[in-house]
């Protein structure tokens, strides 16, 4: 009897604690949406002519597409309690590969894409080898891979960029062209549709399938997952394969958008993607990495960037704001974490 009394007391305590911080709870859950709404209202009032237009909405969505797809990759790596830092380099690598397929080898669209994505899997293989077999902490392993594949992409391209009409490393002229079908992929509405499909597909995968559940269980408590008979290492590997593939898709979208392969083109996508994934962490009270949240995180970053550019904040100062947003999102994630 005494023991039972204690149990109910504990519960009451928990409830009271929750009550005291209800406001904070609300902010944590809906802070992303509130901020987006606030930013939209603010920019619309500040620039009623330019900001709240249909073209600008499409511009924002188009500009966040690549970030979102790459951020979804990071999200998947976060579900298993990992962190894939190599996504930027993977995007560069995929960009370089797919461009070389077109320009150097005159390949049709689909084989070019498929070969590029297969090439990108080599990053996943090395990542999971380092993490699962050699037991290097996730962030450090993917940090090494980030460097390695930045270098691989650059070496492959001969230290320069690849674009239509440019000659190969050894000086032989190229005749390959970037096919119109491929260029279309990077334009609205296709790029937006691809992004939304990725978000929805990964959301369904994470929340409605066994595998998604296992990923979260592994991330929640690796030892408990292992002792529940879940093949933990296999699911960690799966997570890194998915994040590499998604980053690869991001890289291919990037190639289609800019129509060339530039040195380290994907590197700039790492930080906004990390920010998007972490902003999405507490979305709707999820308390864990999730696809929908990441999407809204990317929207937040995109709206902010778009609005600030319109207000003529120089592009080189944007990182200050983006970094600060990331810090706030991280603070919201970690500040209230217990245990």
């Amino acid at each position: 009897m005494e023991a039972k009394m204690k149990t109910s007391e504990v519960k009451v305590n928990v409830k009271q604690e929750n009550k005291g911080s209800k406001a904070l709870d609300f902010i944590e859950k809906w802070g992303t949406i509130i901020t987006i709404v606030f930013l939209i209202v603010f920019f619309s009032v500040a620039m009623p002519e330019a900001f709240p237009t249909k073209t600008n909405v499409i511009t924002i969505l188009r500009s966040i597409s690549i970030v979102t797809v790459i951020a979804i990759g990071i999200t998947v790596s976060l579900t298993v309690g990992g962190f894939d830092l190599s996504v930027g380099s993977v995007a560069t690598f995929a960009d370089t590969m797919v461009m070389s397929m077109f320009v150097w080898y005159s390949m049709p669209v689909f084989p070019a894409i498929i070969i590029s994505l297969l090439a990108v899997l080599s990053v996943a293989i090395i990542n999971s080898l380092l993490i699962v077999k050699l037991k290097i902490p996730d962030m450090l392993a993917t940090l090494s891979c980030m460097f390695i594949f930045e270098g691989v992409a650059m070496t492959y391209a001969g230290g320069g960029s690849i674009s239509q009409g440019m000659s190969k490393l050894d000086g032989t002229p190229t005749t390959g062209t970037i096919l119109p079908l491929f260029s279309k992929v990077g334009q609205a509405p296709y790029i937006i549709i691809i992004m939304l499909v990725v978000v929805v597909a990964v959301h369904i995968f994470l929340n409605y399938t066994k595998h998604g559940r296992y990923l979260y269980v592994v991330g929640g408590n690796m030892e408990a997952a292992r002792l529940s008979g879940i093949p933990v290492q296999r699911y960690r590997t799966i997570a890194y394969f998915l994040s590499a593939i998604l980053a690869g898709i991001g890289g291919i979208l990037l190639a289609s958008r800019i129509g060339s392969a530039q040195i380290n083109a994907g590197a700039g996508y790492l930080m906004p993607s990390v920010a998007a994934a972490y902003i999405g962490y507490s979305f709707a009270g999820a308390g864990r990495a999730n696809a929908i949240g990441t999407f809204f995180g990317a929207v937040l970053v995109g709206v902010l960037e778009n609005g600030l550019v319109m207000m003529s904040v120089p592009y080189y100062s944007l990182n200050i704001v983006k970094g600060a947003v990331l810090a706030i999102a991280l603070a919201l994630t970690y500040f209230r974490k217990k245990d």
Binding site: K210, V217, L227
Partner: protein, 507 residues
């Protein structure tokens, strides 16, 4: 380092009481210790010996009663105040007190590096190395002071801690189960050091579960039980059997539900099992259908390691595991589960449940494939339905199946950890200390549940250091000591004394 005089000094702990939420850990304890003596402090798990020593060393503040040193009242409320009075403690988990990537010298001199620097900013390596060396010489221990602590053996790390303790003006040294992880030769070495310290007028309080060794080293013995002192005697006045009897000597108010079950054929068998790191050695055991097999032994005897090795969670060096006569692969818990084994681990929050996940996904974690369609989409309704059924069946107290496990009480968390495996439908259930931190009501529920499992013809392995539980629930029990099974006993023909006798190294 100050030279200790031969002046006798004496600690008197008077009327010490200490309460934790819901438990009276110490009630009106009087305990005395003199310098120059080696004093054993003995008691079953939860008897209060560690609590008493934590009070003395200043780790606990919330006690009542008074501590006198040489008739002078000392208000010891923090480790620092204890240290000032010359009271040092070496805990069993040596690694928590050492800084692994610093040298032996730095670790030994840590206190003076932290507290005696005053205005100094520079570290004088020569002084530190020389003083550390001196301390080790005083112990008669040979360890290079420039070695990185990480590279030491466990026994050496212990010596470093003892050295650190006596590097200050140490009058009383508490050793909390120092011999548990040591080999025989290492134990000998430790005893030599301890004797030497006692000769140098240090008072030693020696906590150990290994009874035979006490006779080798201690002069006096104090036995505790249920937060009280039973007796203090000269060691020559008692035998191992006396000690065991005095440690127990209580009536159990717990009643056990034990359904009569017909024992079937051998279901599960372990042959010559040794794990990679020799935590357990040459284990042979079997479980019949419908049988509850107890694994008894004290903390650190290797029960948890045995459970984990059988379940594939620790790497195997050699040996075989058979289920229904078939050799099974236990390379990983994944394989073990597929073969029909289930483990309810000891460290519930760390290993058993996912505290930030809701109850339903905890319950389905080991059997999710039963709730998925062909494309591995989860049938959420079926999953929640099964969870609800399990909640009613086990009497899990939760507002709904969607509640996060973190908000449940310990007992209910444990039920969730067990319920997970009931849904998975295993053949052999391994329980490792399932009643740890669980209230009486939930304890009964767990026993009842085990009763139902064996009625269904499952095999149960029940590891616990609570001898009363083993006696109440098991049909047969293996007693472990030092990583080995030292005795197999029919529960109906044994007693608490006998089990404890073998658990403490009796032969």
């Amino acid at each position: 380092m100050k030279k200790l005089g031969n002046k006798k000094s004496k600690i008197e702990m008077r009327d010490i009481s200490m309460e934790f939420p819901g438990v009276k850990a110490l009630s009106n304890v009087d305990f005395n210790i003199e310098t120059g003596k080696i004093h054993a402090l003995i008691g079953a798990n939860g008897a209060g010996k560690s609590t008493l020593m934590k009070v003395l060393s200043g780790a606990y503040d919330g006690y009542t009663g008074k501590i006198y040193i040489d008739e002078e009242f000392c208000n010891i409320r923090s480790p620092k105040e204890a240290k000032v009075k010359g009271i040092e403690i070496v805990y069993q988990e040596v690694d928590t007190a050492l800084i692994p990537y610093l040298t032996v010298a730095e670790n030994i001199m840590l206190n003076s590096l932290v507290n005696k620097m005053q205005g100094k900013q520079w570290i004088n390596w020569q002084v530190i190395n020389a003083s550390a060396k001196k301390v080790l010489e005083r112990l008669g221990v040979e360890i290079n002071v420039k070695t990185i602590v990480e590279d030491l053996t466990l026994a050496q790390k212990q010596m470093v801690l003892i050295a650190r303790a006596i590097s200050e003006d140490c009058k009383f040294l508490i050793l909390d189960e120092p011999t548990a992880p040591l080999s025989n030769t290492e134990t000998e070495e430790l005893f030599r050091v301890v004797r030497e310290l006692a000769q140098n007028n240090v008072g030693i309080i020696f906590i150990s579960h290994r009874l035979p060794e006490l006779f080798e080293i201690c002069e006096e013995i104090t036995i505790m039980k249920d937060g009280q002192i039973v007796t203090t005697k000269k060691i020559q006045e008692v035998t191992v059997n006396d000690i065991v009897e005095l440690m127990l000597g209580r009536q159990y108010d717990e009643s056990f539900v034990k359904y009569p079950v017909e024992l079937g054929e051998t279901l599960f068998e372990v042959k010559n099992l040794t794990d990679q790191d020799f935590l357990i050695e040459d284990i042979n055991m079997y479980v019949r259908k419908g049988e509850v097999v107890g694994i008894s032994g004290l903390v650190g005897a290797g029960k948890t390691e045995l459970c984990k090795t059988i379940f594939g969670a620790l790497p195997v060096r050699q040996g075989e595991v058979l289920l229904q006569g078939q050799l099974i692969n236990i390379k990983s818990p994944y394989r073990a589960v597929r073969n029909g084994l289930a483990l309810v681990p000891e460290e519930r929050r760390k290993e058993g449940v996912l505290v930030f996940e809701p109850v339903y996904s905890n319950l389905s974690a080991a059997s999710l494939s039963n709730f998925t369609n062909i494309l591995s989409f989860i049938k959420k309704r079926a999953e929640r339905c099964a969870a609800k059924k399990m909640i009613t069946e086990l009497g899990i107290k939760t507002p709904s199946e969607g509640q996060k496990v973190a908000y449940l009480s310990g007992g209910n968390q444990q039920k969730v950890a067990v319920g997970k495996w009931l849904l998975a439908d295993a053949e052999v259930y391994i329980f490792d200390e399932p009643t740890k931190g669980v209230d009486v009501g939930a304890k009964q529920d767990i026993f009842e549940l085990i009763g139902r499992l064996v009625q269904m013809g499952k095999g149960v392995i029940y590891a616990s250091c609570e001898v009363a539980e083993i006696l109440g629930i098991s049909d047969r029990t293996y007693v472990m000591y030092d990583g080995k099974i030292v005795k197999e006993l029919e529960t109906s023909q044994t007693s608490e004394q006998e089990i404890l006798y073998y658990s403490t190294g009796g032969q």
